[in-house]
């Protein structure tokens, strides 16, 4: 016998439209790369080192490097517009806290919606938050590149090693026609590229 009707205090998630990733399958040689630094400690330094690695290994051309005005805010529309206009692919990050991780992932997914393949680098402890926002924004297969937590206290040598270690994963996330299909990836590439279903990290 029903005695009470009560209402749910949370949003109804039933009506989220799932959208595809931006088309991939690129050769990275000559591709214009943009970096979107969220301003967290070490993020800019890591992204710079990573971009050098990507340029040397794959021949990408680093054409734009932007730093957001606030780590806990999504990128201003003008920044997204600049990246979408001048870049073929974009790396955002580094998400090593809930607020900054969600915002960097949000930026990457907005770029995907604008047709720009992207990936967001985040730490293992915030992958759940990252997956959550990807699902909320209707892009559950958005590729994240996951690194160990903590990140902000690493020294320059660590960052350089990290850039080298993540280079192929980032390239895979940006260029593979299906970055979320681990089975077809090079053996050393997909481990930390997650499709929101599993992660080896």
């Amino acid at each position: 016998m029903t005695v009470l009707t009560v209402l749910e205090p949370v949003p109804d998630k039933a009506d989220i439209d799932v959208r595809p990733l931006a088309p991939r399958g690129l050769e990275l040689s000559g591709v214009k790369l943009g970096l979107l630094d969220n301003g967290k400690p070490n993020s800019g330094a890591y992204l710079d080192l990573l971009s050098v690695e990507l340029a040397e290994a794959y021949g990408v051309e680093v054409v734009m490097r932007l730093r957001k005005p606030g780590m806990g805010q999504t990128a201003p529309p003008a920044m997204i517009s600049s990246l979408a206009t001048h870049c073929d692919v974009v790396v955002t990050g580094v998400g090593d806290c809930s607020g900054c991780c969600v915002c960097s992932a949000h930026d990457g997914i907005v770029l995907e919606n604008a047709g720009i393949p992207s990936t967001t680098v985040c730490t293992s402890e915030f992958l759940d938050a990252a997956r959550g926002i990807a699902g909320t924004l209707g892009m559950p297969r958005y590729p994240f590149v996951v690194i160990d937590h903590p990140f902000g206290s690493r020294d320059q040598d660590d960052l350089r090693a990290l850039a080298t270690a993540t280079r192929e994963r980032v390239a895979w996330a940006l260029a593979s026609a299906d970055p979320t299909t681990a089975g077809s990836a090079p053996a050393n590439a997909p481990a930390a590229v997650t499709n929101g279903v599993d992660c080896a990290c």
């Binding site: 029903t2 009470l4 009560v6 606030g70 806990g72 805010q73 809930s98 915030f126 909320t136």
Partner: protein, 362 residues
């Protein structure tokens, strides 16, 4: 096992939330705890009837958008807020304060999502003006404590909204190291009788009799000076406590106790005088901060002469007056670690409904 059955429509008017039919109050509690929708305490069942009463008190359509959370691409409606406020125990007279506070929290400079999910801060509500008396908001003894319906239920409503609608579920997206005891409720009144200056909300630009100011603050720190009667030694004590802050340049809220406020008023100090004094006395050299390990890197000689203030500008120090009048205490509410990435926002309040005879004050 959850005993409830999900039903997609409601009988009541224009409400659109999913509903559940349950057999008893204890089944309601089990449902809400199982789903992770509570703060750990029992809730008031958000029935369509109760939610409709709150919606009516807001004077807005249930689907009216009050606040957007762009990081989550989410739009919070009056109905969603009313459900959470009902759970918190808010009555129709309190709900307009919840609406106004969330409107303030939705302003870009407050940065609602990020202060919800990171750091050791939570929004403190300071209610000022005639609404304090009309809604029976505690502005006196044990002002940060428990025992007052308005403070408890308005504060709890804000927290449940953050948890259920803004990504603030503990341990899921909110991975703060320490959290904050005020994440149950963090809401105080400003004492009109003891405040010698304009209400805080007026000082912050909300020109109205009553208003609410929201401030992303850490837990309050106590500054005790029972022995001085002039403003300088009292404010020096307060400044000394402020100097443990993050030095990331954000705003600071100072709750002057009535005795401390009276000392400033007797000496003819304006609120600006107080802010200037506190600003000048809350700087530390970068070298000093480095020696304390609070800034990275070895101490550089030139950093002996480079200074940081707890709050970057005098006007970023907010002054309100509240608390009991028997002892010389003030409270400092330090800013969120992100500093100026969250700024306080004030919002006017509608004139509150008068108390009905059976709604007795304590």
């Amino acid at each position: 096992m959850c005993p409830a059955r999900v039903r997609l429509d409601t009988d009541a008017s224009q409400l659109t939330a999913r509903s559940h039919e349950v057999g008893s109050i204890s089944e309601v509690q089990e449902l809400f705890v199982t789903r992770g929708w509570t703060d750990g305490l029992p809730i008031t069942p958000p029935t369509p009837e109760l939610v409709n009463r709150l919606v009516a008190a807001a004077g807005l359509a249930p689907g009216h958008e009050v606040v957007a959370v762009p990081q989550l691409s989410r739009h919070l409606t009056v109905e969603m807020l009313a459900i959470n406020a009902a759970m918190a125990g808010c009555g129709p007279r309190h709900f307009p304060v919840v609406i106004a506070a969330l409107r303030a929290m939705g302003r870009e400079e407050f940065n609602l999502h990020t202060v919800t999910v990171s750091g050791a801060a939570t929004p403190l509500l300071v209610i000022g003006g005639p609404a304090v008396r009309a809604l029976d908001v505690n502005a006196g003894f044990s002002v940060f404590g428990s025992g007052h319906v308005a403070n408890a239920t308005i504060g709890r409503a804000i927290r449940l909204v953050q948890q259920n609608l803004c990504g603030g579920e503990s341990g899921v997206e909110d991975k703060a190291t320490m959290g904050h005891p005020g994440k149950y409720a963090y809401c105080i009144g400003e004492s009109a009788d003891d405040n010698p200056w304009d209400p805080l909300h007026v000082d912050r630009g909300a020109i109205a009799d009553s208003g609410v100011t929201v401030f992303a603050g850490e837990a309050p720190l106590m500054a005790r000076n029972d022995w001085a009667s002039d403003p300088e030694p009292i404010l020096s004590t307060i400044a000394d406590v402020m100097r443990v802050g993050h030095f990331t340049g954000g705003p600071t809220l100072v709750v002057l106790g009535p005795l401390h406020a009276q000392a400033a008023a007797r000496a003819g100090w304006s609120r600006r005088d107080v802010c200037r004094f506190l600003h000048e006395h809350t700087r530390r050299s970068m070298a000093d901060l480095q020696r304390a390990g609070r800034m990275p890197g070895p101490t550089a000689p030139e950093n002996e002469d480079r200074f940081l203030n707890v709050s970057s500008r005098p006007e970023d120090i907010l002054i309100t007056v509240a608390g009991g009048h028997l002892y010389g205490y003030s409270a400092i509410v330090p800013h969120w670690v992100g500093g100026p990435e969250s700024m306080p926002v004030a919002e006017p309040l509608p004139s509150p409904m008068p108390l009905r005879p059976h709604e007795s004050r304590r």
